[in-house]
């Protein structure tokens, strides 16, 4: 395989994989939390003052699913969208820096 073809495939696949991961942290993660609600939340009686807004029952996070006191889904959301995204970006930059060097030679 020619070097340029190999470089092209590396660029496209590394970018696609990184984008997939960061897309999950940047939006799809919360959709997954909502769809898999029974994994993260318990159904409880809604406090009286909130019934009009949320109905008779509502969901509270499972206390054993927590990290440093934060609900797991909340912790993952804020950490993945910050540190996670930064690390993914840095890894991608390193790969692209190397690819750029190869392109120049």
């Amino acid at each position: 395989m020619k070097d340029s073809q190999r470089g092209y495939k590396i660029e496209v696949w590394v970018t696609a994989i990184c984008f997939l991961i960061v897309a999950v942290t940047g939006g799809f993660f919360s959709s997954i939390v909502v769809i898999l609600n029974e994994v993260f939340f318990n159904v409880v009686q809604t406090p009286e003052q909130l019934v009009s807004a949320y109905g008779e029952t509502m969901f509270v996070f499972k206390e054993h699913l927590s990290v440093w006191g934060f609900p797991l889904h909340y912790f993952l959301l804020i950490v993945l969208s910050w540190f996670g995204a930064t690390i993914i970006g840095a890894i991608w930059c390193i790969v692209m820096d190397r690819l750029e060097e190869q392109q120049k030679t």
Partner: protein
């Protein structure tokens, strides 16, 4: 909400210092401006750290500083999710656009679209979309400056809008992109100090064990919070497609927002463009997570102390919290930070609007005009744009963050889609882009007119077919999950059905990716367009499912 009874002298002094330093930086930076390229893109000489810091201040507008806290009180988890998406979106912009745009050598998004697709008509359309997006974004931020002045001096918001607007107009006009860049760097540093320290003191007063690091320092307060506000962390108040809409709006909106993209045209090379984004996302994440902590603290304070802050005062809640729990000196810092935050975003927007009108519009209508004349006209245009926006902002939207979110949606459908496809799919042509831009922008802009401007209930808007499903908190945000997929589908399908762009235009794609040779097979496969169509159709279908599962 009543303002303070007396003028807040310390806050006023710090705010004036920020304003004066901003103008001084521009006067100093003026010496670097000798050509049109210097004025619009700082001679393409900005390094990664400087550009990263400047981008942070663009991202952290007053909507973050005060609007997000207000939204957290209103919407709790979903508000945090919006900004988590916004933070990660910078990496989306890095992967899909940043270094490639830098290699294209355009000055603006509008020039990129016109040159990549070989169409002057697209240039005019994109200038119109840019003006809509920028005015919406600007109005929200100038309203924020008005809020700060109202709280600070007790004077009507209108004076804050006028004074803040004039100062920004002055220093943008004077210093061009050099002035804007160095100002934004200065304002980021001010903002970081002025947010982190007061919030840490607030968290300490509330009893958080990790107060020294507010972003993750309030875990031990969670049990008491959930006792009083059991739904605080509940993600179930919205249909799952809401979060997909947030993803689409954030990731493609940020690529479509011309004042963000313009920053990449100022850096030295593609490598600097890449690493500046990594610097940016780390600091934006730091500040955003600190603001989540502020929102948490505000709700916690209201619930545990019995203080009732009226809904109308939610935009002031950061100041109320800092004043009550940290004291006047910290409040002065927070006020100065807010002023810096407002100025930085407004300056970036004025810059792109001036560039769009003179470089892209006037320069296209009169291509024979020399650069010196354009430079002179740019000074005048920038000043007139600033004054025009101040006048428009005198009656801005009530809730400032919503205006910004609409701007993201319109930018995603109107500009984000053509930029991304122009970089990654050679087959994209002007016909497809024209169809996608016009329909995508119309869908989102008309929805804003009906919902955001006229105040109609989202489920009652006469079109599109999906309106019935726009229920729930921030239900209108699902408009984005219609407009962006429709824009993608139209761009891909129409491009496929019409003749491919000529080789010179396709060659630009290889050049943007750093290849010195041309290979017609690169970035020209069927995998990407098919994936885009499948995902877009899936999202449109998903909106209409699970209708009975979520609160209306």
């Amino acid at each position: 909400m009543e303002p303070r009874e007396e003028i807040f002298v310390l806050g006023l002094i710090l705010s004036i210092i920020v304003l004066v330093i901003s103008v001084m930086i521009s006067v100093w930076a003026r010496r670097f401006t000798r050509s049109l390229g210097d004025y619009y893109v700082a001679g393409r000489s900005i390094g990664a750290l400087n550009n990263g810091l400047a981008m942070v201040s663009l991202a952290l507008s007053l909507t973050t500083f005060i609007g997000l806290t207000a939204l957290i009180i209103e919407g709790l988890y979903i508000a945090v999710s919006v900004y988590a998406g916004f933070t990660a979106a910078f990496i989306g912009m890095l992967l899909l656009a940043a270094p490639y745009l830098r290699r294209h050598k355009s000055f603006t998004t509008m020039a990129f679209i016109s040159e990549r697709y070989g169409s002057e008509t697209l240039r005019y359309i994109s200038v119109i979309v840019m003006m809509i997006v920028s005015v919406l974004y600007l109005a929200g931020n100038l309203k924020g400056i008005g809020i700060v002045f109202y709280f600070l001096l007790g004077v009507p918001e209108i004076w804050g809008i006028i004074v803040g607007g004039l100062v920004v107009t002055l220093y943008v006009t004077l210093g061009g992109m050099y002035g804007v860049t160095y100002n934004q760097t200065f304002q980021t540093i001010v903002l970081l100090f002025c947010l982190m320290f007061p919030v840490a003191i607030v968290m300490r007063t509330l009893g958080a064990s990790g107060w020294a690091f507010p972003p993750l320092g309030y875990g031990d307060m969670v049990p008491l919070m959930t006792d009083t506000v059991p739904h605080y962390f509940w993600a179930m108040v919205a249909h799952p497609v809401t979060y997909i809409a947030i993803f689409l709006g954030s990731f493609f909106g940020i690529i479509g927002l011309p004042h963000f993209v313009m920053r990449y045209f100022t850096v030295r090379d593609a490598k600097e463009a890449r690493w500046s984004t990594v610097v940016c996302v780390f600091l934006v994440g730091l500040v955003n997570t600190t603001v989540y902590a502020t929102g948490f603290a505000a709700v916690y304070y209201m619930q545990t102390s019995g203080v009732d802050i009226p809904t109308a005062a939610y935009d002031y809640v950061v100041f109320i919290l800092v004043e009550a729990l940290a004291g006047d000196s910290w409040l002065a810092l927070a006020v100065a930070g807010s002023v810096a935050a407002g100025l930085s975003t407004v300056s970036g927007l004025l810059m792109i609007m001036g560039a769009g009108l003179i470089h892209d519009l006037y320069g296209s209508i009169k291509p024979d005009v020399d650069d010196e004349t354009k430079l002179r006209l740019s000074y005048g245009a920038m000043f007139l744009v600033g004054v025009g926006v101040i006048i428009f902002s005198l009656d801005p939207p009530e809730f400032i963050l919503e205006a910004i979110m609409w701007a993201f949606g319109i930018a995603a459908a109107g500009l984000g889609v053509p930029v991304v496809l122009g970089i990654w799919w050679k087959r994209t042509n002007k016909y497809g882009v024209g169809a996608g831009m016009v329909v995508g922008t119309t869908l989102s802009f008309v929805s804003w007119i009906m919902i955001g401007y006229m105040g109609m209930d989202p489920v009652d808007i006469p079109f599109p077919f999906f309106a019935k499903y726009f229920y729930g908190p921030l239900g209108w945000i699902k408009v984005i999950s219609v407009a962006v997929p429709v824009s993608f589908i139209l761009t891909v399908v129409v491009s496929w059905l019409t003749p491919p762009p000529e080789e010179a235009l396709q060659r630009q794609v290889d050049e943007m990716h750093g290849w010195t040779d041309y290979d017609p097979k690169r970035y020209n496969g069927k995998g990407l367009p098919i994936t885009i169509i499948v995902l877009s159709v899936f999202i449109l279908w998903f909106i209409t499912t699970l209708y009975d599962e979520f609160p209306k």
